[in-house]
């Protein structure tokens, strides 16, 4: 153990450097959203002068507030749908013996994650182009991305807690169906459900590809609004929008991590 010490320390230093590389741009953007006058390449005096940060934030909320609401609604709908579908699916995968069929089903469920988001979006557009812009189609697109998280998290929890044998034991001891659900299933899956719900909310809230291609202006999401601010608005507005986005996203991620879910690959 002693001889590995230097390697661990070296690795920790590398990790720290990498984390700095990941954090600095975020900090710069957030700081410049609050103090547009900082020397951060802000050439527009309109946003730097007087009114300062508050003005950029107010502009974003006034212009893109509907996008923020749509994103919140979409995240809520698709995360709940993913939970409603993923809880039973994950449970049965976790309880079932690892047969070939179960394996294939698990692969099929996680396939959307392996594919480029654009491919999924384009496939949906090809098949259901007539419904482009409908909230339902957006929810479908987001469920494809959030379901894998729910299924995997719940299945893993079910396997870990060896729930199948516990249920069997409770049944032979005479516990009713309701009792088994109330005292066994719920407690052992609660944390997995909470974690996957938060992850699903985060993934849906940050998703760009599917909504960019499938949404009409009536249901633009906040990431598409971010794209609008990046291309057409001045830097403080773009920075303020990004800050609002991070303020929505980071608590969801932190909550999921805190509950013990491992970070997953996002969109």
């Amino acid at each position: 153990m002693k001889r590995r010490r230097p390697l661990i320390i070296f690795g920790a230093v590398v990790a720290l450097l990498l984390a700095t590389f990941l954090l600095v741009p975020l900090v710069v953007v957030v700081v410049s959203a609050f103090s547009p006058s900082a020397a951060l390449g802000v050439s527009s005096e309109q946003w730097a002068a007087g009114a300062g940060a508050g003005r950029a934030f107010r502009y974003v909320l006034a212009t893109y507030g509907a996008h923020l609401r749509t994103s919140a609604l979409l995240a809520l709908l698709s995360a709940s749908a993913a939970l409603a579908l993923g809880l039973p699916a994950g449970l049965s995968l976790g309880v079932a013996p690892r047969t070939r069929t179960a394996g294939a089903l698990e692969i099929l469920l996680t396939l959307p994650l392996a594919m480029p988001g654009l491919t999924v979006a384009l496939a949906l557009l090809t098949a259901y182009g007539a419904y482009a812009g409908d909230l339902g189609l957006l929810v479908l697109g987001h469920v494809l991305y959030t379901l894998p998280f729910t299924v995997r998290t719940v299945a893993a929890a079910a396997r870990m807690s060896a729930i199948a044998s516990a249920l069997e034991a409770a049944r032979t001891l005479g516990a009713t169906r309701v009792q088994r659900a109330r005292y066994l299933l719920l407690p052992s899956l609660r944390r997995a459900a909470q974690t996957s719900l938060l992850l699903a909310l985060a993934v849906s809230f940050g998703e760009f590809n599917v909504t960019f291609l499938l949404a009409t202006p009536a249901h633009g999401t906040f990431p598409t609004a971010l794209y609008l601010t990046y291309t057409t608005n001045s830097f403080p507005v773009a920075a303020a929008a990004t800050t609002i986005f991070l303020a929505g996203l980071v608590p969801l991620l932190a909550g999921a991590l805190w509950l013990g879910g491992e970070p997953q690959q996002g969109a």
Binding site: L18, L22, A123, A127, L144, Y227, A267
Partner: protein, 246 residues
Amino acid sequence: MAGGFVWPLARLCVAAFSRGTESHSGLYRLFADSYARRALGHSLALSLVVALASVAICLPAALSLARGRFVGRALLRGVFAIPLALSGVVVGFLAVAMLGNAGALPALLHTEWLRGTAYGLGGLGITYLYFEIPRATLTMEAALATVEDGLLEAARTLGARPRQLVWLVFWPLCAPALRAAFGVTFAASLGSFGVALIIAGRFPLLPVELYRSFTGTLDEPLGAAMALTLALLAIAVLWVSGRRAR
């Protein structure tokens, strides 16, 4: 799942083989057209370089996070999780904010040579690394965490020399983790769209050309062919790297 995923994919395949208003199928034109081929080549080359680089850079960090116990480890992992949930456009914007012609780094460091790096090939690579570093680190960490702790110790007790330790014990233990991380990062880079949309400039990449074919020039067969090719390549790489990892 069938209606929401399998059926749309089937429609996409049909579209890729159809001709539309052109004389050849989308798939044929993707490989016959030198520009589309070049975009595919660029995408593959960029993904390969970025995947290799991120695996190499992140191995020590992953080892340390998986095997070490130190203060702030949980916080570090939390920081690594953030970029995973950022859309590509946000990462692209961060690149412009830091390394653009009017970026923060050239301004804060008072250097000229960094100015505008975001739009060059180097900038594209660095920006891809931004979202691949967390992927590579966390994938390798997960794989390395399952390695039996006592194996190295046992080999050493049995009298293995350092070189033998590295090549006969340590490397075979790490290799599956490296392969898995390579697969995951390669597939993610290949399909990344938002970053390229913001900063790719004059450097054609397949996801952006796909978007252009589908949205701008209304060439559905070509766009479908590109989308299908990207998906098949990503899945193939993931499958090979994942299967070997077991």
